[in-house]
Symmetry: D3
Subunit: 67 residues, 6 copies
């Protein structure tokens, strides 16, 4: 019954990579806490780099500097 | 003053259906808890089916199987 | 498969009232969008009044003024 | 280490305005609570006006009435 | 830089189990998407069973029936 | 109409500090985007240090090392 929300910057994650995240988190919750995979919900949000800040600045600027 | 966030898969909910959800949830909070509709906020997120997992897999796959 | 998060101030909502919210939102999503109740998840967060702001001030202050 | 999520309606916030929000919130958390800006994360969600409700109706309708 | 929020019912997850969830999700994001573990944030919310609904009813009721 | 959620570790933020956060964020949204303070909602979540991970480990461990 767990609900997991994963937020990442939108930088080209593929359908297959998102499938891996969903499968991996669901398995982790089963292994660690015995949670039923059938009712585990995972939602991935891909956020524009201009809308994500860390260290007080947009990720866009960090990427331009190669970080 | 309540805040409600509704997450659904993006599968063609119409403007009118979203209006019904907003009106319905706002009314429910007024009826059950006496909350003031004027300051009840409802935010609907429509999530791509590749970004929504249940049972360890993407909704896209379930829909392809007719689920 | 919808996921709904309801945030309210912690002011004595009873177990029965929370059950009504859960049942009501689940029914609304079935009626409006045909969503399967079996996989609809509702999470209620009750937030301390000192931790909820509206109009730039804590709800605690508004309640003291009888609002 | 704080995490801040700002949700606004999608009505043309510019890249520069979003940069100001990110810088401003990060500075506020440093000034008020001494939080390290380097690990403060800010995520801005811009929500379609049809998906945002207040007072039981969509923001779209309020904007049409000039509110 | 990812942000992950895990919501589970409050049913006695131990400090060690929560540490495993945090380590496991952080590792998954590094393996699948190459995300830097140093800035990956994981927040676990433990929700009272009366405040969690699935299938239109509180988890408390399901647990009483042995589900 | 904005909605802001601030998540911090539970480490003794006072009522006055939380009031400052609420007032500061509300003012920032007014100054940068012209948002109406009357309908700006701010919710602060204080999260146990065992439930907050960064760098793959709990904040509790970092604090024990003086970080």
């Amino acid at each position: 019954m767990p609900y997991v929300n994963i937020k990442i910057t939108r930088e080209g994650a593929t359908v297959a990579q998102k499938a891996e995240l969903i499968a991996g988190v669901t398995r982790l919750l089963q292994e660690v806490l015995g949670k039923n995979p059938a009712t585990t919900v995972v939602v991935i949000d891909e956020v524009e780099m201009d809308n994500w800040g860390i260290g007080g600045e947009q990720v866009t600027l960090r990427r331009q500097r190669g970080q």
